[in-house]
Amino acid sequence: MIRIPCPNCGPRNSNEFRYSGEPRKRPVGDDVTPAEFRAYLYEHTNALGWVKENWYHSAGCRRFFQIERHTLSNDCRPVGSAPQESAS
C-alpha cells in the first residue's frame, strides 16, 4: 500500500484517502459537444511519469488536495516541487 503525503496530516496509508482523479477542466457553454463533455468525464491521460492528482483525506483532515505522483515508482511530491531538470 502506498503512502500519500497529506499536506495537513503528513504521510498516511493510502486507504485513508479517496482518489479523486486527475484535475480536469469542465467544458462549459452552450456550444459544448457531447464528445467534449464525455472526454472530460471518461477520458484520462493515464500518463507514465509524474502526474497531478486530487486526493481526499476521508479518514483524516477531510480536505481535498493535489499532489504529484509518479505512476511507475509511486513516489509522491508536492505540486510545484519538481526539480527544474526533470520537470515535464
Partner: protein, 935 residues
C-alpha cells in the same frame, strides 16, 4: 518398540534442538508414534522408521524428506482438521492425529500408482489436452480427478476455528532471515539506534550456524546473546515475511502462537534487509524423488537438530564445501560412507535405484554402489522473491551459478548474506554489519553511504545428469516434460511454466525454477542467463485465509433503539454497516397498521448533514437538480442529486431551520458519499462559498410516525408546536420538544403516502422517545414497523429507491423526475449538461415506471426480465403483493417506447413462463391524489 527414541535416533548431539526429557505421543495414519519435544512431525516419523511421508500428485510415487524445511515439497500432511501442514516444519505435539494426504486408499498401497504405468499419457499439458472436450463430460472428469487431486480435507462447516490476529507495526529496519548475516545486520541497525524486527521462518534463530561446527556454534552463541541483550530488536520466530509492497509495506505472518493460530503483521518498514540465505538446489536424475535421496542440508539438519540418522549407508554427491562437510557430519553420526562422488573432478550420479526406497546408486564411472541414502550438494538457488517484489530483476551470475540482485534495488531494500554473494563467515558478518548500519541511516532519512558488495565463489553449474528425473516434486513435472513442452513451441520460461505447471505447485519455484530454466535452455539451446527467471510474486510462503481475514474488525452501526428492536422480535437486516429491523414478525400487519392507524419506524441510519452559512442555497443548487433559491425558513423540499454524467446519485429532503441553517437528509447508504460530494464542490470548485458541513447522522435518532392517527399520537407528546394542518402543513419543518426532550426537529413529509411526521431527536433520548410513542399510542393501535413494510408502503406510492430501482446507468429523466429537473437554472449544476442531452433521447432510453401484472396474484421476482420476443428490453426492479390493494404491484425499467400508460409488457419468470403486464396509469397505486398525505 522400546523407549521413545525410535530406531533411527542417534545419541545426543551437541547441536540438537529436542528435549529428550520430554516425550510426546501422536498418531500417524492411526498408528502411535512417540518423539521428543522439539521434534517436527517429520523428524519424529523418521526416528521411528517412517520415511514415506506423502505421495506424488500425478504418479502417486512415494515421497520422503528432500530439504527437511518448511518448504520441503514432499512433506505435506493433514493434522486433525487442518490440511496441507508442512510436516518438516510443524512441531509435533501430543495428541495430534496426523494423516497422509493424496492417498487412496492408503499411504502404503495407493491405487494411483497405476498412473505410473500410464505415465506416457500424463505428459506436459495433459490436463489441457485430455479433459478439454467434449465439454459436457467435464463434471464426470472432475469427479474422478478430484479423488486423485492432492490436498487434504478442509474442515466441515461449523468446525470451531482458532483465533487469528492482525497487528500494525512500524519498525525502522526489518530483517528477513536470521542467519549470521541477518543477525549481524539487525545488531548493527539496532546499535545505530533503529528499532529492528528480526524475522525467522524456522523455530530458532541462527540459520545454518545451527548445524555448524564447534567454531560456528560458538559464534552463534555470541550472536544470540547479543540479540537477547539488545532491547531494540524484536525477534519473531516461526514467522515468514510473506510479501513486500510499495513503500515497504511488508506483511509478516507469525504462526502457532499461544494466543492465536496466526498473526498477520502489517509492517511499514523504513529499510527492509533481505537476508534469507540460499536454498539448496536438487539435482535432476532418474530416481531423484525416491525416499532416501535428499539434499545435504537436509541430512545435516536431521542429524544436528533432531539426532536422526538419515540412513545407514550413504553415497554423497558433492560439488561444494557444504557437501564435503556433510560427509564429515554423516561419518560422525555413524553413517557408513559408501562413496563420495565429486562433481568438481568429473564425478556424476546417473540414477538412483530402488522401488519405494533407494537401494543403490549408479555412477557415471560405471560403478553401482549399494546404499540406502543418496545425498546431493550440487548448488544453490537464491530466493529472490522479496527483491522481485520490490521491482528488482535479478541477474544470472555464471560464476556463482545462481541469480543475484542487480543494481536496480530501491534504496529502502538492501541485501545481506548468501543472497548477496559469498564469503567466509567473518566476511559475511562484516558485510551484513555495514548493511545494517546503512539500513538504519536510510530509515532515519540519512544517506549512510553506498552499500558494499560481496564477492562470489566459483561454482559448477550443475542441473541435470544424463538421465531424466523430477524437476517439480509438488506438480510431478519431469525434465522430459520440459523438453517435450519446448518441442511443442513453449520456448520461454514464462510459457513453459504455465504449460507444464512446473513451479506452479505449493513450493512455488523454490526448488524447481532454476532446473526448469536450465532444462529448457538445454532444449532450446539457450543459457539460463538468456532465458531469465520467472517473476516471483507474493506470498513467499503459503499463508492461511484465516491470517488474511484476521479478527472481524469492521465497525457495526446501530441506532439507540436497536436493543429494543431485538428484544421485541425484530429480524435483523444488515444494510452496509448498519444493522436495523427488517420486520417484527408480520410485515403485512405492519403495513396495515400504518394504512389504518399509526406505525413508527426507526430511520436513524438516514444520512443527516447540518449545514451552516450564508451560501447554502448555492451549494444546494449545484448538487441538486431542482431549484433551491426560494426555500423559506420552516420549509422542507425533496431533492434529487445526479452525478456529472447525469446518473441519479442520491435523494432526500432538506429543510431550512433558520436563515443560515439547513438540515440535509440523504439515503442511508449515501450519507458518506453525499458528504464527500458536497465537500468536493465546496473545497475544489467554490472555496469562496461560506458553508460549513457537520455530519449529524448519529447525533440524532430519527423516527418516522406514519398513518392517519399520527397527528393524534404525536400531539400527545409535543407541547410547544402547533401541529394543526393549517399551522404545520405538508413539507414544513418545526423545532420543538417531544416527550420532554427539547431541540427536536420535526419534518412533515411522507415516503409512505400517509400523514406522517419524521422526528429527529438527540440520540441519547432516542429510546425514551421511541418508548414514549408506543406507550402514548397504545390505545390508537400504534405498531413499530420495519424496512420491509416501509418498502411495501413506498412501492404502493410508486416511489423509487435509488440503487434499487435505479442503477449506475439510470439518468435523471429515466428515473421519472422530469418535473424536478430544472435545466433553466442559470448556473451549472451537477449533471446539467448530460441531462440537457438526455431530454431529447429516443425510444430506447430507459424509464422507471409503475407496472401491474395482468394476473393480480403473480408477483414477478425482482430482476425478472421484460422482453420483446427473445430480446431483453427491461427488468422488474421492485415487486410486492400489496396488502392494501390485495394485488401484485411493481416498478420496472422499460424502454421509453413501452413506458406510456397502458403499454403491454411481457415478463419472463425464473421458471421460464411468460406473463403479461401493463404500465400503470399514474404514479401511485394507492391514494393517487395524495389526499391522505395532505390531510
Amino acid at each position: 518398540m522400546s523407549g521413545t527414541s525410535g530406531p533411527y535416533r542417534l545419541p545426543v548431539q551437541a547441536t540438537e534442538e529436542i528435549d529428550r526429557s520430554k516425550t510426546i505421543k501422536f498418531t500417524w495414519n492411526g498408528a502411535s508414534v512417540t518423539g521428543y519435544e522439539g521434534d517436527t512431525i517429520v523428524s519424529a516419523l523418521l526416528a521411528n522408521g517412517y520415511e514415506v511421508i506423502a505421495r506424488g500428485l500425478k504418479y502417486h510415487r512415494p515421497r520422503g524428506v528432500l530439504s527437511g524445511t518448511f518448504h520441503d515439497p514432499n512433506c505435506t500432511v493433514q493434522v486433525d482438521v487442518e490440511p496441507n501442514v508442512r510436516a518438516a516444519h510443524r512441531l509435533a505435539k501430543s495428541g495430534m492425529s496426523v494423516t497422509a494426504q493424496n492417498v487412496f486408499p492408503s499411504l502404503k498401497f495407493d491405487i494411483g500408482t497405476v498412473n505410473q504405468a500410464a505415465g506416457r499419457f500424463l505428459t506436459a499439458g495433459f490436463y489441457y489436452k485430455t479433459f478439454m472436450w467434449p465439454g459436457p463430460l467435464w463434471p464426470a472428469y472432475e469427479k474422478v480427478l478430484s479423488r486423485f487431486a492432492p490436498g487434504g480435507r478442509v474442515a466441515p462447516m461449523g468446525t470451531p476455528h482458532g483465533h487469528y490476529d492482525h497487528k500494525y507495526v512500524h519498525p525502522d529496519v526489518l530483517v528477513a532471515g536470521s542467519g549470521p548475516a541477518g543477525i549481524a545486520a539487525a545488531l548493527a541497525a539496532a546499535g545505530a539506534g533503529a528499532d529492528v524486527m528480526l524475522v525467522e521462518e524456522d523455530h530458532n534463530i541462527g540459520g545454518h550456524l545451527r548445524f555448524g561446527n564447534d567454531a560456528e556454534l560458538a559464534r552463534l552463541a555470541e550472536l544470540r546473546a547479543a540479540v537477547a541483550a539488545e532491547p531494540r530488536i524484536t525477534v519473531l520466530t516461526n514467522s515468514v515475511v510473506a510479501a513486500r509492497y510499495d513503500d515497504n509495506w511488508v506483511s509478516v505472518v507469525q504462526r502457532t502462537l499461544p494466543s492465536a493460530v496466526e498473526r498477520l503483521y502489517k509492517a511499514r518498514v523504513g529499510t527492509l534487509v533481505v537476508a534469507p540465505g540460499l536454498f539448496e538446489r536438487p539435482y535432476v536424475f532418474e530416481g531423484n524423488d525416491l525416499p532416501g535421496v535428499m539434499l545435504s542440508t537436509a541430512a545435516r539438519r536431521l542429524i544436528k537438530l533432531y539426532g536422526i540418522a538419515p540412513g545407514r549407508t550413504a553415497v554423497v554427491f558433492t560439488a561444494n564445501a557444504e557437501g564435503d562437510s556433510c560427509v564429515e557430519t554423516l561419518r560422525a553420526a555413524g553413517v557408513t560412507i559408501a562413496a563420495v562422488v565429486d562433481a568438481r573432478t568429473g564425478g556424476n550420479v546417473v540414477r538412483a535405484l530402488g522401488r519405494g526406497h533407494v537401494t543403490g546408486v549408479e555412477l557415471a564411472d560405471g560403478r553401482t554402489i549399494k546404499a540406502d541414502l543418496l545425498v546431493t550438494a550440487t548448488g544453490w538457488t537464491a530466493p529472490t522473491s522479496l527483491i522481485n517484489m520490490a521491482g528488482a530483476r535479478p541477474v544470472w551470475n555464471q560464476v556463482a551459478a545462481r541469480f543475484m540482485p542487480g543494481d536496480d534495488l530501491p534504496s529502502n531494500v538492501m541485501v545481506a548474506g548468501g543472497l548477496g554473494g559469498d564469503g567466509t563467515l567473518a566476511e559475511l558478518i562484516d558485510h551484513a554489519t555495514e548493511i545494517g548500519r546503512i539500513a538504519a541511516a536510510r530509515a532515519a532519512g540519512a544517506d549512510g553511504g553506498k552499500a558494499p558488495l560481496l564477492g562470489v565463489d566459483s561454482h559448477p553449474a550443475l542441473f541435470r545428469s544424463t538421465t531424466h528425473g523430477f524437476i517439480d516434486y509438488t506438480e510431478d513435472v519431469q525434465s522430459k516434460d520440459i523438453i517435450a513442452a519446448a518441442a511443442e513451441g513453449y520456448d520461454s520460461s514464462e510459457l513453459v511454466k504455465r504449460f507444464t505447471t512446473a513451479t506452479m505447485g505449493p513450493s512455488q519455484g523454490k526448488y524447481e525454477t532454476i532446473n526448469t530454466i536450465a532444462v529448457l535452455g538445454e532444449a532450446v539451446g539457450a543459457s539460463v542467463s538468456d532465458l531469465g527467471t520467472t517473476v516471483w510474486r507474493p506470498p513467499f510462503a503459503p499463508i492461511s485465509l484465516g491470517a488474511l481475514a484476521g479478527q472481524h474488525a469492521e465497525p457495526t452501526r446501530i441506532s439507540p433503539m436497536q436493543e429494543w428492536h431485538e428484544a421485541h422480535g425484530a429480524e435483523p437486516l444488515i444494510a452496509g454497516q448498519w444493522i436495523r429491523p427488517e420486520h417484527y414478525g408480520d410485515p403485512v400487519a405492519e403495513v396495515n397498521a400504518v394504512r389504518n392507524a399509526v406505525g413508527i419506524i426507526d430511520v436513524t441510519p438516514l444520512g443527516k448533514l447540518d449545514l451552516r452559512g450564508p451560501d447554502i442555497s448555492k451549494l444546494l443548487n449545484v448538487v441538486y437538480v431542482n431549484a433551491w433559491n426560494k426555500l423559506d425558513v420552516g420549509s422542507v423540499r425533496y431533492g434529487v442529486m445526479c452525478a456529472e454524467d447525469g446518473v441519479v446519485m442520491d435523494d432526500g429532503v432538506t429543510g431550512r431551520l433558520g436563515e443560515n441553517h439547513y438540515l440535509m437528509s440523504t439515503t442511508s447508504s449515501g450519507a458518506a458519499t453525499v458528504w464527500e460530494w458536497c465537500e468536493n464542490w465546496l473545497q475544489t470548485e467554490h472555496p469562496d462559498w461560506q458553508v460549513h458541513i457537520t455530519p449529524v447522522t448519529t447525533s440524532y435518532a430519527s423516527i418516522n410516525i406514519a398513518g392517519p392517527k399520527s397527528r393524534e399520537l404525536i400531539s400527545r407528546l409535543v407541547t410547544d408546536v402547533d401541529l394543526s394542518n393549517e399551522a404545520f402543513p405538508y413539507m414544513k419543518v418545526r423545532q420543538g420538544t417531544i416527550a420532554g426532550v427539547p431541540d427536536c426537529v420535526l419534518w412533515r413529509i411522507g415516503f409512505t403516502g400517509e400523514l406522517s411526521f419524521e422526528i429527529h431527536v438527540p440520540s441519547s433520548y432516542g429510546l425514551h422517545v421511541w418508548e414514549s410513542l408506543l406507550e402514548a399510542g397504545a390505545d390508537l393501535g400504534v405498531k413499530p414497523f420495519g424496512i420491509e413494510a416501509q418498502r411495501v408502503l413506498r412501492l404502493e406510492k410508486g416511489h423509487f429507491i435509488v440503487a434499487q430501482d435505479t442503477d449506475a446507468l439510470t439518468k435523471g429523466f429515466s428515473a421519472g423526475i422530469d418535473g424536478l429537473i430544472k435545466l433553466d437554472k442559470p448556473d451549472y449544476f451537477s449533471g446539467k449538461t448530460e441531462l440537457a442531452w438526455q431530454r431529447s433521447a429516443g425510444a430506447d432510453d430507459i424509464r422507471v415506471v409503475p407496472i401491474q401484472t395482468d394476473d393480480p396474484n403473480i408477483v414477478p421476482p425482482e430482476a425478472s426480465q421484460i422482453v420483446v420476443g427473445s430480446k431483453m428490453v427491461g427488468r422488474v426492479t421492485s415487486s410486492r403483493m400489496s396488502p392494501t390493494l390485495k394485488r401484485s404491484i411493481a416498478l420496472a425499467q422499460v424502454p421509453a417506447s413501452l413506458s406510456t400508460a397502458g403499454s403491454a409488457l411481457t415478463i419472463v419468470l425464473p421458471s421460464g413462463n411468460r406473463i403479461s403486464a401493463h404500465v400503470f396509469d399514474g404514479h401511485a397505486f394507492v391514494d393517487p391524489q395524495g389526499e391522505r398525505l395532505h390531510g
